[in-house]
Symmetry: D2
Subunit: 421 residues, 4 copies
C-alpha cells in the first residue's frame, strides 16, 4: 500500500514546486498497487483506465503550459495530443471516450516515462520563476487532484465487476462511531455565498453573490447504512410514492434494490468484500435514491447555499491540518465524531437539492480552459464536501462537485435538511 511521509504543514502553504512534485508523486502512488492489467481496463463509458488518468493529467500540463510557454518544447509523442485529450473541443479532435479501455499501447511503462519527462520539464519551468503561469499550474494541480479521486472511483467500479472481488489495498481499522442524529437550526436571511477571490477556486465557485435563505435545519451527521436499510426494508425500492418520476423509471429499468456495491449483508470496498456496518454512512447512492430516502424520512435534501452557510472554514480547520489523505482514501468512508455538524468535509460527498447552474454574474474564462466547468451546466446535481478519496488540500467549503442524478459510482451520500416554518 502506498505511503507518503506525513507533513506538518498543509500542502497549500508549500512552495509551488514542492506542491507540484508532491501532487504528481501522489498520483503515481495511487497507481502503484495496480497491475498493468488493472490499469488498462475501462469498466463503463463514464469511467477511464488508470493509465489514461496518469497520461491525461500529464497531457494537461504539456498542452496548456509547456507547448504555449516553452518555445522550443518538443512533444513527447505527437499522437498523445489526440489520445489523451478528454473533452476540450477547442484543442482538437479526441479519441472517443468509450474506447479508452481498448488502447493497450502505450503501456504503463511508456506512460510513466511520459509523466517523468513532463514533470521534469514543468519543474524546470517552475524553477525558472516566471510568475505568469502560476494560475495555470495551480489549475493543473487541482485538475490532477480531481483525477486522483477518479482513479479510485473508477478502479473500485472495475474491481467490483470481478466475481473474485479483489482488493485495491487492505483496509485500516475504522474508528468507532454511533452518534445519534441531531439537528442544528439556521436563521437564514439575505446571505452571500460563493468563492470570495482569495486562494485557488474553480471558475464555477464564483462570483460571490447574494441569495435569500429561509430558516432551515441541517442534520448533525450523514445518514447511515442502518438508517438506509430501514428505508429498504419498508419497501423503499418498491413504492413509487417516494420517487421522482425519472428516478422511479430507473429503479425499474435497472432493477435497483439497494445502493451500488451492497451485497446481501456485505459491501464491496476498495479493500474487497466485507460485512456492512450499521453505523457507517451510506454511500454510492444516486441523487434519486438520496431524494427518495429524504421523502420517506419526511425531510428534504439541503440546497447548496444552505450547505455552504453551515460548512466549516476548511482551511482553518485544525483537525485537518496534516491529515494524511492516503491513509483513509482506499477505505469505505466511516464517520468521524465532533460537536455540532459532523462529517461535512471529507467523509462522503453530500447530494444537494440544487441543480448545477451558473451563479449570477458567472462568466466563463476565455480560451480552451473556459470549457472547464461551464459547459456541464445541464442535467447535473451539485454535491458538496468531498469524500475520503478527495485530497484534503483540494476541498473547500465553496467547492461544487456535480454529477448526473443517476450516477452512483462516486462516493455520494446523504445529509437531511428541513424547513423551519
Amino acid at each position: 500500500m502506498p505511503k507518503l511521509t506525513t507533513r506538518s504543514v498543509p500542502a497549500h502553504a508549500l512552495p509551488l514546486l514542492d506542491r507540484f512534485r508532491r501532487v504528481r508523486r501522489q498520483t503515481e502512488a495511487l497507481a502503484e498497487p495496480l497491475s498493468p492489467e488493472d490499469q488498462t481496463v475501462q469498466s463503463m463509458p463514464d469511467a477511464s483506465p488508470t493509465k489514461w488518468h496518469l497520461a491525461h493529467t500529464t497531457w494537461f500540463f504539456e498542452t496548456f503550459v509547456l507547448k504555449p510557454r516553452l518555445p522550443h518544447y518538443r512533444a513527447f509523442e505527437p499522437a498523445y495530443e489526440y489520445l489523451f485529450n478528454s473533452y476540450y473541443e477547442a484543442v482538437g479532435p479526441r479519441h472517443p471516450r468509450p474506447q479508452r479501455g481498448l488502447i493497450t499501447r502505450p503501456g504503463v511503462g511508456e506512460i510513466l516515462a511520459y509523466r517523468r519527462s513532463v514533470t521534469e520539464a514543468m519543474a524546470e519551468l517552475i524553477g525558472s520563476n516566471r510568475s505568469e503561469e502560476t494560475g495555470l499550474i495551480e489549475l493543473g494541480l487541482h485538475h490532477e487532484q480531481q483525477h486522483q479521486e477518479l482513479i479510485l472511483m473508477d478502479i473500485k467500479h472495475a474491481l467490483s465487476l470481478n466475481p473474485l472481488f479483489p482488493a485495491y489495498a487492505p483496509e485500516r481499522a475504522p474508528k468507532a462511531s454511533g452518534a445519534s442524529l441531531g439537528w442544528i437550526d439556521f436563521e437564514g436571511g439575505l446571505v452571500e455565498t460563493g468563492h470570495a477571490g482569495e486562494g485557488f477556486a474553480f471558475d464555477n465557485e464564483g462570483p460571490r453573490h447574494r441569495s435569500w435563505v429561509d430558516p432551515f435545519a441541517l442534520a448533525t451527521r450523514l445518514v447511515t447504512c442502518g438508517e438506509y436499510q430501514a428505508f429498504v426494508d419498508e419497501g423503499g425500492y418498491r413504492r413509487p410514492e417516494f420517487w421522482l418520476s425519472a428516478g422511479w423509471d430507473l429503479v425499474k429499468q435497472r432493477g435497483w434494490q439497494a445502493p451500488l456495491y451492497w451485497h446481501e449483508d456485505g459491501i464491496f470496498t476498495l479493500a474487497g468484500l466485507r460485512p456492512r456496518r450499521a453505523e457507517e454512512p451510506v454511500c454510492h447512492v444516486s441523487f434519486y435514491e438520496a431524494a427518495a430516502y429524504a421523502k420517506w424520512a419526511g425531510k428534504r435534501l439541503p440546497r447548496e447555499e444552505e450547505w455552504e452557510l453551515a460548512a466549516p472554514d476548511v482551511t482553518s480547520c485544525a483537525s485537518m491540518v496534516g491529515a494524511n489523505m492516503l491513509d483513509a482514501r482506499h477505505l469505505h468512508p466511516v464517520p468521524a465524531h465532533s460537536e455540532g455538524l459532523a462529517q461535512m468535509i471529507g467523509d462522503v460527498w453530500e447530494w444537494t437539492a440544487s441543480p448545477y447552474v451558473a451563479y449570477p454574474g458567472f462568466r466563463e474564462p476565455p480560451g480552451a480552459i473556459g470549457e472547464y466547468n461551464g459547459k456541464f451546466m445541464a442535467n447535473q446535481m451539485v454535491l458538496r464536501g468531498g469524500c475520503a478519496a478527495t485530497p484534503r488540500d483540494h476541498i473547500r467549503a465553496t467547492y461544487r462537485n456535480f454529477f448526473p442524478p443517476d450516477a452512483r459510482w462516486m462516493f455520494g451520500g446523504i445529509r437531511l435538511a428541513e424547513d423551519l416554518r
Copy 2:
C-alpha cells in the same frame, strides 16, 4: 375549422358550470378537423393520440370526482381506468405510454360517448352545488386545458412525419410585424415571486417566496427566425463553443441543423408547409438550442424570477379580454406589437435558464393529486408565458411549464437577457 362564439367576458369570470361545459366543448372542437385515423396515432413516446387525450381528460373527472363523490356512480367501462391513466401511480396500474398508439378500440365514436356520459354526470354534480368539489373541478379543467395544448403539439408532430405535409386547418393571415430589438432594464433587489393564493394556480407555482435578483435587462421581443438564421449561417450547429456539452452531443447524435419543422426555406405548421418569414418568432427549439443561440449572441437566457418580475398581470390585461383562443392556436405563432415588452404572453413559450425545482417551502398536496407536478422536478427546464396554442384563461404570469432540455415539439422560443453590471 372549429369555431366558438366569441364571448365578451373572460372565461374565469363565468359560473363554474358554464366554464366546465365550455372547456369540455373546446376539447372536442379541437379534435373535429381530425379523422379517426388521425386521432389514433402516436408519433413518438412523448406524444399521445388525440383520442387518448379526449379519453384521459374524461378519466380524470371520472376517477377523481365522480367515483369518490357519487356513491352510486357506475364506471362507464371499468377497463378505461387502466387504459387512460397517464402517470398516477397511486391510482393503480397503467397502460404503457409508448403503446398508446396501438389501442384502436375503443374508437373515436366510443370515446365521444364516454365523454358525453361523464360530462353529463359532472354537470349534474356541479348543478347540485356541493361546494367541496370546486377546487378539484377547477384542477380538472386546467388539466384539460393543458391537454388542449398537447392535442395541437402532438398532432402537429404526427402530421409533420407524413411526406404529404397535410394541414390541420387553414392558416389565418398573420398580422404584420418587424419591431427592432430593444432592451428594458430592471433593478432587481430582494423580490417576491410565486403565486399569492388568489385565483387558481397549480401547486408548483407556490408558495410565494423571496429571492435576491441582481440588476438585469430583458429583450423587448422574442428572437426571430431571421435572427436565428444568422446563427445557423455562422455555423451555429457546427461550432461546439456555443453549446452545453450535453447539447453538443445531441447535435451530433441527432444531426440537428435547424429548429424542428424547418425545411430549407419553408416551415411546417398546423396549416401545412409554407415559406418561413424572417420576422416571425423562432419556435420549436430545444433548451440547448436556446442556450447556444444566447451564447452566440453574447447574452443569456432569463432566470424564471426575472421573467416573472417583468411579466404583465395577465388577468387585468385588457388586450386579452375576450380573445378567441381558437382563432390563433392552429397557426404558427406570429408576433404581436406593443410598447415595452412584447410577446410575453401567448406567442411562444420562453425557455428560462432555471431548472425546474420546488420553490422554498413547497409541499406536495396529499393523495394521488399530489403526484401532479412535484415528481417531475428533475432534468427539466422551466418555460414561461404560454403560446398561441395555450388557452388564454389558462395562462398566468406565475405559470411554470417544464420540459426536458432536448424537447422541441412544444412551441418553445427564445427571449434574451443580460446582466447589468
Copy 3:
C-alpha cells in the same frame, strides 16, 4: 363478418378477369370488419397497417402493369409511388417501413377510392386481352393473396396488444379432432423437387432439381397444444440443452415461456381470448421453439425436400375444391382428419429444418420484379404448406414460405420427422 358466395369451381380455373375481381374483392372483404382506427396502426416494424396492405397491393398493379403498359395512364396520386412501395429498391425511394403506422392520410376512404380506380383500369386492360401481361397479372394476384394472409397476421398481432382483447370476427365451431400420432415411412433416394413449370409458381420454387434423400419418416399430424404443453411443463423454456444457442439467447432476452398468444389456460385468436384446446395444433411458435420441441421429443424437423415428397398434389385434392377460405381463416387453426398424412395443406405453416437458399440453377428474373424473392435468401428458414389464413388457390406443394427463425406472428407450427436408419 365478411362472406363470399361459395363457388363450385376452383378459382384458378376461372377466366383471368373473374379471378382478378375475385381476389381484389376478397382483400376488401378482409378489411371490412375493421374500423378506420384498426386499419391505421402498425404494431411492430415487421407488420403493416391494413390500409397500407390495401394500398400497396394496388400500387403493385399500378406500378408494374398500368404505368408501363398504358401509355396515357395518369397516376392516381404521384406521392403514392413513394408511400406504398415496400422494398423494391429498383423502383425508387420508399417510405420507411417502421413508420407506416404514422401515415394517417390518405385515410381508408381515399385508399378504397384508389383501389377502385386501379381495379377498373386493370379490368379494362385485362378485357382488352393483351396476352403479354398475363404473367405479370398472375404474379400481382398471388402477391395480393400473400398480403391477404399478412392482413390477418398483422391485425391479429395489433389486436393482441389491446388489453381488452377485441375480436376480429366471431369464431365458427371447430370440427372435433383427436387423432393419435402415427408415422409414415419414406424410402427417399435420388429425387426431384421444385416447381415443374406448369401453372403459376414464384421464381424461388424452381428450377426443378435433383437431390438425394435418405430414408425418413414423417409424423401423420401436427404437434398439438397438449403435446407442446408437456414440453413446457417439463421445463422446456428453462433447459438450455434443447435449444440452439441463438434460440436460448432469445428465450432469456425476451422472456419467452410459451408460444405467442398463450395466456395461462387461454389463447388469443382472431375471435378474441378463449380457452386453449389440447387437441388443436400448436401455432405461433418460432423456428427456435419448433427445433427445441423436436429435440426434446427425440426427433427433428423435416427438410423441405422431405416435406415436398410427402405433400399431396394440392390442385387435384378433391377435399379442397370449392373450399370457402373465408369461413375458416379467422379461426385459430383446428385439425382436419384424413387417412395418412393430415394437415399438410392449409392448417398451419410447418417449419422445416431448411434455411431458405436458392435451388441449384436458380436465376433471378430481370428487372424490379427480380427483387421479389431472391434477395431475402439469408437468415430465413423455409415453412411449407400454408395455413387457415392462406387462400386455397394460392398454396401449392412446391410453395416456399420463409421467415426469420425468431418470427412468431405468422401461423407457424410443427410436424416431426425422423431418420430411418
Copy 4:
C-alpha cells in the same frame, strides 16, 4: 517474434504427448509478442482477451479431462470454472462473454502458472497411457488450435482500433504472385462428402453422406484486392441490386464502404498499416460482401459440397508437410501458386453459399461435449479451407468453419463458382 524449431514430420504423426506439449507451447508462443495490457482487452463482444484464450483452453482440459479422470485432482482455483467457461451450459454458470475484458485478475502471470500446472497434470495423465481419454485429448488439442487462430483474429481487431496502428509482429517478405483467373470444370453427380471416420474430425464434419451435385466450375484462385477494388470503384457499396436485403441494410447501418481493415490505399495487418497490393487475396469481407461481389461478377459462391469435392487431400499434400505455421500466420495472407486450384488450403477462409446445418444423419455426442458444434446451427454460413492463421495440422478438406454472415474479423475471402449448364 516467436519461433519454433521446424520439424520434419507432420504434427499428427507425432506421439500424443509430443503433440500435446507442442500445441500448448504454440499457444504461449503466440501470446509472447503481447504485453500484459494487450492481453487484457476485449475489443468487441465477439472477441476475447488473449489471456482469456490462454486460460479457457486450459480450463477445457481441467474440466473435461482432469476433474473427471483424476480422482484426487484439486482444481487450481475453483473460481476459474466460472470465469473461463465459454458457452457450455451443461457445465454450470458462466461469466458473461461481453465482460471478459473487465477481468484484470488473474493477470497474465497467474494464468501462465495455471497453464503450467494443468499442462503438467495432463502430461502425467497422458504418460500413464490410459487409452480411454485419447479422443477427448485430441478434441482438446483441436479446440486449443481453434483458439490459436482466435488469438490472432482477436488481437488484430483490438490493435486495429488503436490510432497508432501498432504491429503484433514484423511482416515477412511475401512471395511474388499474379496468376490470372482460370476455371476448372467439375461433372458433379451423386457424390459423397463429409468425414469418413479415419483420423480426427469434429462431430459436425460427419456423417459421410450422399448428395447430388450438378455440373459446376470453380475459379482457380481467390478474388484479389485489385479485383475487389474494381467492384468498389463501380459503386459496389452504393448499388442495392448486388446485395441480399439483410446485407444492404447493414451496408447502410454500418456505413461499410470497403472490407474491414482497408484504409485508403493501405491495409491494416498484424504487422501494422502498410500499402495494399493488388494481387493479394481480398480478406476480411463478410458473407454479404462476398455474395454481392459474386453477383456483381455474374457468378456465385460455391456450395460446400462443391468445394469439398474440389479440395485436395490435405493430409497427403506434400507441400504442407513440415510447414512451420508460425512463419506465416501473423502476416496478411498472400497467395501461393500451384497448378490447377490454388490457395484452397491455408490462405484465407472461403465463404460458401451454404448455411451451416447438420448433415443428414447427424447426431450430437452425449454430454457437455455435445454442445460443441451442433447448437450453433442457425444463422451462420460455412467457410472452408483455413487461413494463414490456422495451424496446418488442424485443417482438413472436410473442416467446416462457420460464422454469422455479417462477421468480418476472421480471415474470410472469396472464391467464385458458376453453373455449367
